[in-house]
Amino acid sequence: MAKLIKDISKTQKKINSSLIEKALGAKKIGIKIDTRKAPISLFELRQFLIEKLISSGGRPKLDGAAKRRNKIPLLEDDWDKLKSIAEYYKKKDGINVSPGQLASAIVHSFISHIDIAKDGFSESNIKT
């Protein structure tokens, strides 16, 4: 049977975020990101949106977005989160971004780290 390693190392004590809020005189925003997987942050996402959203009179457009509208199926919970994040950016930072544009930014953030050779898509050509 295949083996799965389970790390049972002792870990440092965890600090409650409310203590950080009080000790540093900060306000906690009600969004949490799992940083164990990658240090992607809402702040970096916000920076990307600030740079890429172009005002055209109506809703800002994402610079470089394809003219063709792509249909990408999303999980219901994911769509709800995207709507919440878009609403947060609009209310707190005045960034008028749609949930779809947010999804586009997040997809780009991930895919931009994948390099595919011009001559084809094969396991030997994929570099990450």
């Binding site: 049977m1 295949a2 083996k3 799965l4 390693i5 389970k6 790390d7 049972i8 190392s9 002792k10 870990t11 440092q12 004590k13 965890k14 600090i15 975020s17 950080i20 809020e21 000790a23 540093l24 005189g25 900060a26 306000k27 906690k28 925003i29 969004i31 949490k32 990101i33 799992d34 940083t35 240090p39 942050s41 809402l42 702040f43 970096e44 916000r46 920076q47 600030i50 740079e51």
Partner: protein, 100 residues
């Protein structure tokens, strides 16, 4: 269930790799803008990621507060932001002076 598909091998990676302390689980991220600003102008920032040593971090929190609030005051930031353990924090009201 995963446990039914695999033989679970429990081991302490800290001991195996010879790490000198327990694994850290929480990460602090600081965002340092590269110039003073008064208005809300978004610009490139230096982002520092660090895992923390819990006891040292707790014992020195007051110094981190002094740094963050002084940074906000002296460089005319509209706000100072940081992340801790995946949670995003904002400091709008800066201490009037360094307090311990």
């Amino acid at each position: 269930m995963v446990d039914d598909m695999f033989d679970i091998v429990e081991t302490s990676l800290v001991e195996i790799v010879g790490a000198d302390q327990e694994a850290s689980m929480q990460q602090l991220t600081l965002y340092i803008p590269n110039k003073d600003k008064k208005d809300v102008i978004w610009e490139k920032t230096t982002i520092l990621y660090t895992y923390i040593k819990t006891d040292n971090f707790l014992n020195n929190l007051k110094f981190l507060r002094i740094f963050l609030h002084r940074f906000g005051r002296e460089t005319n930031q509209g706000e100072v932001v940081f992340e801790f353990d995946g949670r995003f924090f904002r400091i709008f009201d800066f201490d009037e002076n360094d307090t311990l």
